[in-house]
Amino acid sequence: MNIYDLIFYLFAALTLISAFFVVTNKNIVHSAFYLLFTFFGVAGIYVLLGADFVAIVQLIVYVGGILILLLFGVMLTNKITNVEIKTGTINIFSATIGVGLFAGVLLAAVLYAPWKVTLLQEPVSTTGILGNLLMNEYVLVFELLGIILLIALIGAASIARR
């Protein structure tokens, strides 16, 4: 067992355990904080997969942006003073069975599928490469994403104000 594997298991455990708490915890604020660790773990896994830039973006956008947004959502939609931030659950029974079956099937598929794996290349710094790709091959998608973000911003503002 080398250091790479060790770090992988560490992050995998961090991700999965915190995700489990996100899903099961009754308190939404707690869930949100567990979600923070999940995102950290996923970012670590990105690094292990040689995707340093994506990992950084994950940290900045998810942890710095989306999580904060979610917390704002919690705050704005609950009466904080009454501490009514607990969430109820429904469908526990059928959900457990269904998701269990689902996960089982997927896992079976993942484990028994004959993956055709190419040789690992040495991880390189991806920032420059991704920048080139964005500005050349994917420039149209890039622009479209910009427009979508703008529309989403305006749309969110207008919906929330209504």
Binding site: N91, S94, A95, G98, V99, L101, F102, A109
Partner: protein
């Protein structure tokens, strides 16, 4: 100057009034002053028509300008082969002059109507109708094929109908509109048959191509008889539109429309369209057809002239005189006086429009009183109207120095020459008689209306000269009734520019053996299709006929006028006693020769009788069959109904019941909660994955 300029300008002349119509009709309710737009459009149209006339006469005095596009074409149709229907414009001198006449009178009538129709509740719609009339009339004038002419022909019929029945709240007005429309259809049926024969024979509607084929010897059904029939059938259209005997009954009734409309449509332009049609088809008329046309023209000039003697409605008198003058033109065409017919059309358009607008001015002043027995003494009150009326009446009576003298004298001289050559003396005799009657009844009208003592003092007190926009057209039209516009010589128009330069001589295309003798080309002197169709014999006869005709017509016109003065002004003869003595004749004339009653008894009641018989047939026989069929159907449907109720309905109900059952079962799943749905989706995916693993 390119000939393209003429084509483009003529398109403006054609479509500007249409634009005016559309805009005025659409915005009429919203924009109160949209009628000004219509008037502006008509002024532009007039300017364009002046441009056309000038350019045609100066730059292309001798050529026809034709421009055509293919409308649609069929290749290899059964029976006909290739068919190509073309739209086109043809401009020759007659077209250009006719356009000028139509545009000028239409513009003047538009301006006149601004004052005359003021305060009418459908003011703007009136102008819109005038616009579509001008559009369709210009279409008749400009088109180069008989199909388009027929379409525009019906369009003027439509606008005439709309305008006669413009005050449709009055029963008499709406009836008159219907009468005009229906009577015109009778004539148009003949015209349509003629067009069909032409198309069946020549596969084309274009005048030029038809004429060329006739010159090349192609005849309908290979017989000259059918060529005559075609000519007469086409002439039927003119009988209807120009109100010739026996279809003249609609025109007097058409006077129910507003007076400016009578001036524009029922005096100057639309009714002249019939004459214009005969002018256009002149090249295919055989001697027989021409004789027929001449007879119709003669009868229609005579009968209305006798009726006009006794009428008391100022517009009715003018209407009958219009029919009479149109009869002159038709007769002129029949006796081969092509140029004089068109010349008379133009001069008549001007002075008759002036007369009608003058009568409109009188009616306006008298608060819509049309009966001349209540008028009198208006000369002092309305001097301009009076003098223009007198000038126009002198023109229609044929007194020298007026345009009417020139054209009428030409017609009479040609009929005299015609009689000299063929022996049909009835034509000139009737012609001179009608000239006498015309002079008499026109001055009877003037004397009773404008001279003497006022009969209705209340209305007389309020009468006053009409406003400027009404008087101005009168003055313009009366000015145009003076000889100087047409020829420098006031007693002989032959050397004037209108006859010698502007109106082309006609070209005959009919086979030589079907023509009158005097229309056959001189031996080897003139080739067959040269524009000069008259033989030297005819020219000589015309020359000889000129002075006798002039003196006789002058004599009858003056004696007619004098007679009118003797009867009505100086009262030398007691008119009432005279009418008492010739009572039967008087009532016969007063009741318009009982034409309306005759048609009522024969055609109208015949139609009614036929419809009643058909109605009875429908009611008893057809309905019997229908009822029998209905009973059979009913019993059959009773059987089918039971089958439906028991078997089919059983199935249907079963289906419905099953659906309801499953619906009850499945509605539990539809909780409306998204999460439940997702659970179901997950289960489904798992099941699908198992199945398609």
């Amino acid at each position: 100057m390119e000939s393209q300029f003429l084509i483009n300008t003529s398109l403006y002349v054609l479509f500007l009034p249409l634009l005016g119509f559309v805009v005025t009709l659409l915005l009429g309710k919203k924009v109160k002053s949209i009628y000004l737009f219509e008037n502006l459009v008509l002024i532009l149209t007039f300017i364009a028509s002046v441009l056309i006339l000038y350019n045609k006469l100066v730059n292309f005095p001798d050529s026809k300008i034709v421009s055509e596009v293919e409308w649609f074409g069929f290749a290899n149709t059964p029976l006909f082969g290739d068919i190509s229907i073309k739209l086109g414009i043809m401009i020759d001198n007659i077209t250009a002059m006719m356009l000028f006449v139509v545009a000028l009178i239409s513009m003047l009538v538009h301006l006149y109507s601004i004052a005359y129709m003021k305060g009418d509740e459908r003011y703007n719609r009136y102008f819109a109708y005038l616009g579509i009339f001008t559009f369709s009339m210009n279409g008749i004038v400009l088109t180069h094929n008989i199909l388009m002419m027929y379409i525009f022909w019906e369009l003027v019929g439509l606008s005439s109908y709309l305008l006669i029945g413009f005050w449709f709240e009055k029963k008499s007005a709406s009836d008159a509109g219907k009468k005009a429309f229906i009577v015109n259809r009778v004539g148009d049926l003949g015209m349509f048959a003629g067009i069909l024969i032409l198309f069946f024979t020549y596969r084309t509607f274009s005048f030029e191509e038809i004429f060329n084929s006739i010159s090349a010897g192609v005849l309908p059904f290979n017989s000259t008889f059918w060529l005559s029939v075609t000519g007469i059938l086409l002439f039927c259209g003119a009988i209807g539109k120009s109100a010739q005997f026996p279809l003249h009954v609609w025109l007097p009734d058409a006077m129910e429309g507003p007076t400016p409309v009578s001036a524009l449509i029922h005096a100057a332009t639309m009714v002249a369209a019939g004459v214009y049609l005969v002018i256009r088809i002149f090249g295919l008329l055989t001697a027989d057809a021409m004789l027929f046309i001449a007879v119709i023209g003669m009868i229609s000039s005579f009968i209305p002239a006798t009726i006009a003697l006794t009428q008391n409605d100022i517009k009715k008198v003018l209407a009958y005189s219009t029919i009479s003058q149109l009869g002159y033109m038709i007769m002129a065409l029949g006796v081969g006086a092509y140029q004089f017919a068109f010349f008379h059309l133009v001069t008549h358009a001007f002075f008759k429009a002036a007369l009608f607008l003058g009568s409109g001015s009188v009616i306006h002043a008298m608060h819509h009183e049309q009966d001349i027995r209540y008028m009198g003494g208006l000369r002092k009150k309305m001097p301009l109207t009076y003098w223009t009326f007198v000038i126009s009446s002198l023109a229609i009576a044929g007194i020298p120095l007026t345009s009417g003298f020139l054209s009428k004298d030409g017609i009479l001289a040609s009929s005299l020459a015609f009689a000299n050559l063929t022996g049909h003396w009835l034509f000139p005799i009737t012609g001179f008689l009608v000239a006498l009657l015309t002079a008499f009844y026109m001055f009877r009208l003037i004397i009773i209306t404008f001279h003497g003592e006022p009969k209705d003092h209340h209305k007389f007190e309020h009468a006053h000269e009409s406003p400027f926009v009404m008087v101005m057209p009168l003055v313009v039209l009366a000015t145009l009734s003076v000889f100087i516009w047409y020829t420098p010589n006031p007693i002989n128009a032959d050397q004037g520019w209108v006859l010698s330069k502007w109106i082309e001589k006609p070209v005959l295309h009919t086979p030589v053996e079907t023509r009158f003798d005097f229309m056959k080309p001189d031996t080897e002197a003139t080739p067959e299709n040269e524009p000069i169709m008259y033989s030297t014999i005819y020219t000589e006869a015309m020359h000889h006929a000129h002075y006798p005709a002039m003196f006789i017509s002058l004599f009858v016109a003056i004696s007619g006028i004098l007679l009118a003065f003797v009867f009505y002004h100086w009262k030398k003869v007691n008119v009432d006693a005279l009418t008492e003595r010739i009572k039967p004749l008087y009532t016969f004339s007063l009741n318009k020769w009982y034409f309306d009653e005759l048609y009522d008894k024969t055609f109208v009641s015949g139609t009614l009788l036929l419809s009643r018989a058909l109605g009875w047939f429908d009611l008893k026989i057809i309905d019997g069959i229908v009822n029998g069929a209905a009973a059979a159907t009913k019993s059959l449907s009773f059987f089918i109904g039971n089958f439906d109720r028991i078997v089919i309905d059983g199935f249907v109900n079963l289906t419905a019941y099953l659906s309801g059952f499953f619906g009850l079962l499945f509605r539990r799943i539809q909780t409306g909660k998204v999460q439940t749905y997702i659970v179901l989706v997950i289960f489904s995916i798992v099941i699908l994955l198992f199945i398609f693993r």
